[in-house]
Symmetry: C2
Subunit: 328 residues, 2 copies
């Protein structure tokens, strides 16, 4: 519905590509949001849907916080703080300073503008609206012409198994700065989650499905592990392409490389390709990792070289166009 409205109202002069080529991207936080932004810039309005991980959603002082949804929404709206990747450009921390006066430990930083997002989302959830409806409304208010779709409306909680026991994701990721050795990922509630009708419809319509360069265990993994999601993707006749989040043996951001190692995988695009084997038919890796092409192709997919480090909008757009096979 929203989709159709957006198609009708978008600027016709931007229609450089075929409207009949819907693209679906699976994304987590910063890296995924950058490529999603590139895709949004490269495609006509209304032809991109982004399915976003909500497995690291959590509650803080009663607020429902969806870090990945927010990062994607802020990035696609052009409001993101580009230097840090997450949060809003020009945001301030007056609210947190006041909480500190009240003796509240503020290990998770929330800006004053960012807080309004959580406040409004929480209010609307408590009014009985779904996360999908709310995300659609917030994104439309910010002028976003792509569909940002939570992977599910049910709560899923990510925990990581460490030598110090099971840690909830934000404690591991933010408070511990992902320094713990991770031997496993537990997704509480995942068995009761279902892909939303909006997600299933987007998968069904997609002619290209993109696994963005997000963490395969705690960003893309939770999306694929929503019961029914993987089968729906496998059943789709879309081209399926992943961009490696590992470049030159490291993750550009976050704990993906450390997790590959600690969970017994090769710390390279090959390790990622093995995780996605049977799902994707094409893998894009960085120029730095060119030597891995034959190893990846041995897994039954094509491998291609691109510049995958996205610093500018032009980088984002260029990588998106490679992903969409528009320059080949």
């Amino acid at each position: 519905m929203t989709h159709d409205v957006l198609r009708i109202t978008h600027d016709l002069r931007s229609m450089t590509y075929d409207l009949r080529l819907p693209v679906l991207a699976l994304a987590g936080g910063v890296g995924g949001a950058k490529l999603a932004h590139g895709l949004a810039m490269s495609l006509p309005a209304g032809s991109l849907s982004v399915v976003v991980n909500t497995g690291d959603d959590f509650k803080l002082w009663g607020l429902h916080i969806s870090p990945d949804l927010d990062t994607v929404m802020y990035t696609l709206s052009g409001l993101a703080n580009r230097a840090q990747g997450w949060g809003l450009e020009g945001d301030t921390t007056k609210g947190m300073e006041m909480l500190a006066r009240y003796g509240i430990d503020s290990w998770f930083m929330l800006g004053d503008m960012d807080l309004s997002t959580h406040l409004l989302r929480t209010y609307l959830l408590n009014e009985g609206r779904t996360l999908t409806e709310i995300t659609s409304q917030l994104a439309a208010s910010l002028g976003i012409q792509s569909a940002i779709l939570p992977m599910c409306n049910e709560p899923v909680e990510t925990f990581v198994q460490t030598p110090n026991g099971l840690l909830d994701f934000q404690t591991y990721f933010v408070a511990h700065k992902h320094a713990d050795n991770v031997s496993g990922v537990v997704l509480k509630g995942i068995e009761d989650a279902t892909p939303t009708p909006e997600v299933l419809s987007a998968i069904e319509q997609a002619q290209t499905i993109v696994l963005c360069p997000s963490n395969p265990f705690v960003s893309i993994g939770p999306i694929l592990r929503v019961p029914g999601m993987l089968n729906a993707i496998k059943a789709s006749s879309a081209h399926k392409v992943a961009v490696s989040p590992i470049v030159g043996g490291a993750a550009l951001k976050g704990p993906a490389a450390a997790m590959l190692a600690s969970m017994g995988h090769e710390v390279s695009p090959v390790g990622v390709a093995q995780l996605y084997q049977g799902v994707i038919d094409r893998m894009i890796i960085d120029r730095l990792d060119e030597s891995y092409v034959p190893h990846i192709e041995a897994l039954g997919m094509t491998a291609e070289i691109a510049d995958t480090i996205m610093k500018s909008d032009d980088d984002r757009r260029a990588l998106a166009e490679r992903v969409l096979d528009l320059r080949s």
Copy 2:
């Protein structure tokens, strides 16, 4: 308990008055908070309790907002925005600007720092803490050495009867800028409210009870109308003194004068004294209203002249000392 702790830890050099003279003030918003501040500055730490109206508490985007508690707390902590009377000095409105981006109408202005107070209060209420406990904790965090006591822990909602029907208080007061003609005040939930043990204990111990220059209908009125409150005050042997919120035929702030007129009372300190007849034994009126002294004394109370307009801290302290009869 807290009271005793404060008594022990306060600075002994400030003990210019008798510690055995506990004072209780009844207060609403700005005017009441100023006199309460004067009393707090004039008394040794721990000897002042302020019972605050919570009848205009309301919910906004799921947040529990207690305008009068906040005004008293911010004023007593020295953090208040002195120019506007309410809110916090140096507060910003980034959060509201973001809400506006989301299309949210922001008729009620909330600063970024102020929002943290509501967020924390709401969170603690949802955790099962009482408004009394929460207020005590927040006030202590801000270094306040007086007891700030909500009039009750139960929700009470103030509505005003107008030619346009029954309006909730914030719609009348903020959105309509108290322009409607008020023919009556309805306090929903008041019959199920009870004075808290802390309030009853403070009344029992008080040697002086002060009705601050707050609105008699929507600030002091709701406090006195909590079932059992008026009887407890009447049963107390304390000196009971009110300061007129009406000066020269007008209210210094808010709709008190308009309400006196529209509800058929004299718009003068006499009109206020009639409302408090049988409760107080002493009324303090402004120098401007000196001619009303005989009319007030005819009601069976003494009337005294003072400078009641509090612009500076010295004004607040001077009026407090007159109220406490320390200069007579």
